[in-house]
């Protein structure tokens, strides 16, 4: 009894058990792997039971998609150069280039009140605590625990998570807090006369130094201004497919790499 109460206090109050958790997380990997088997199996049958025609069709579609993306990225180099020159003119620091590592989801937290993911990459792959996590559409969350070959990420919609954002349209800064539900973020402490509208894209502002600047976070869906209240009630829907993505990207920014 004393032991378990001691454990709770040590973990909750003093955060003393990080190292032990990392080891235990690695031990927990097989359990997640087994629990993930049904999904893996259905994926396997899906890929292996496809007809030739389906494969050709999907190959064709991917090739077209690739062509479009390549076309779009042609101008990337010149735009980046231009951006660096303009930033020099403005005397601000150079834009940082981000590298990514693809990780696969092997589990989700079984507790519905805790929005966490378990990933198949760990300290061996260079994953570190606080590392941002994105998918193809936007910011997903950050790493909170790292084992040697497995890590745990907290989603941006978890109640304990907040991320500094800015409105892409005009640069208004705010904090997006998780609501505990997968599909909603709450933008807190936005005064009633702030210029924020339904449909505004919120991107990471880079303030606080944890998340790199410019990743899409959410789209504003509700703005309620009550003249009796000091702050407006603003809700947003995350851009990332938090409950559907199976492959995620871990972001390494040059700055964080240097700090480590």
């Amino acid at each position: 009894m004393v032991v378990v109460v001691g454990l709770i206090v040590a973990d909750l109050r003093y955060n003393k058990l990080q190292a032990a958790r990392a080891v235990l997380d690695t031990l927990a990997y097989p359990v997640f792997w087994v629990a993930d088997l049904p999904t893996r199996l259905s994926e396997w049958t899906e890929t292996h039971a496809q007809t030739r025609a389906q494969l050709l069709e999907s190959n064709d579609r991917l090739r077209r998609e690739n062509l479009i993306l390549q076309g779009r990225s042609q101008q990337m180099a010149s735009l980046q150069g231009e951006n660096v020159r303009l930033r020099k003119l403005l005397n601000s620091s150079a834009l940082l280039r981000d590298d990514v590592l693809v990780a696969e989801l092997i589990g989700v937290s079984p507790d519905p009140e805790r929005l966490q993911l378990v990933l198949d990459k760990g300290a061996n792959d260079g994953v570190f605590i606080g590392q941002p996590l994105i998918d193809a559409d936007g910011l997903m969350g950050q790493i909170v625990e790292v084992g040697s070959a497995v890590s745990r990420a907290l989603l941006i919609t978890d109640v304990t998570h907040s991320v500094p954002v800015q409105v892409n349209r005009n640069g208004v800064r705010a904090i997006a807090e998780g609501s505990g539900e997968l599909g909603a973020l709450e933008i807190r402490h936005v005064s009633s006369n702030t210029d924020i509208q339904v449909g505004d894209l919120l991107v990471t502002s880079g303030l606080g130094g944890r998340f790199p600047e410019g990743y899409p976070v959410a789209v504003v869906t509700v703005v309620e201004r009550d003249s009796g209240e000091t702050f407006a009630r603003v809700l947003a829907v995350p851009s990332a497919a938090l409950d559907r993505t199976r492959h995620v990207l871990l972001v390494f920014t040059t700055r964080t790499a240097r700090a480590d």
Binding site: I8, A10, L27, A28, A35, D36, P38, P110, R114, R152
Partner: protein, 162 residues
């Protein structure tokens, strides 16, 4: 004799590993609010069947394992399961002679206590969102109790775990 005890130990461990896997199995949407507490159910069964072997010490290890899987505060589930094990060990003589539905009611209460303790620790931590749903797993666990009881009893008799 020694080999038989060893075998029995392996069976117990295997059932708990199975319970762990079921506890983290991805479930769709609202169903995860009603996920039965597999580990608690298995623990209750072994506490009733073999109170001299499975008890509070086992509950501590199981609970810490579950905490790691759930990513919750280390000790949250350990605390809850210790209480569950303690109560089942106090009640096992009575539980053994109860009818199936009476047992199910007791299981509802035991898992309910388990959920309540987890809820307390979570609210201290500040992550609890919808506390009004916390008894749903207790209900689903109680409904599943007959299945658990019969399958685990079958296993225990087949492998002669004692």
């Amino acid at each position: 004799m020694a080999s038989r005890e060893g075998q029995g130990f392996a069976v117990i461990i295997l059932t708990f590993i199975l319970a762990y896997v079921l506890a983290v199995l991805p479930l769709p949407g609202w169903l995860q609010w009603a996920r039965p507490e597999w580990v608690a159910l298995t623990l209750i069964y072994w506490c009733i069947a073999l109170p001299q072997r499975v008890g509070i010490a086992a509950a501590v290890f199981l609970g810490v394992g579950l905490d790691v899987l759930e990513g919750s505060v280390l000790g949250q589930n350990a605390f809850a399961l210790v209480i569950v094990a303690l109560l089942s060990q106090l009640l096992y003589q009575r539980l053994r002679v109860y009818s199936l539905w009476q047992q199910a009611v007791v299981v509802f209460i035991l898992v309910g206590i388990n959920q309540l303790i987890c809820q307390w620790v979570q609210s201290i931590e500040g992550v609890s969102v919808l506390p009004r749903l916390f008894l749903l797993p207790a209900l689903s666990s109680a409904l599943l109790w007959p299945v658990i009881l019969h399958s685990l009893r079958g296993l225990r008799r087949y492998y002669q775990v004692s």
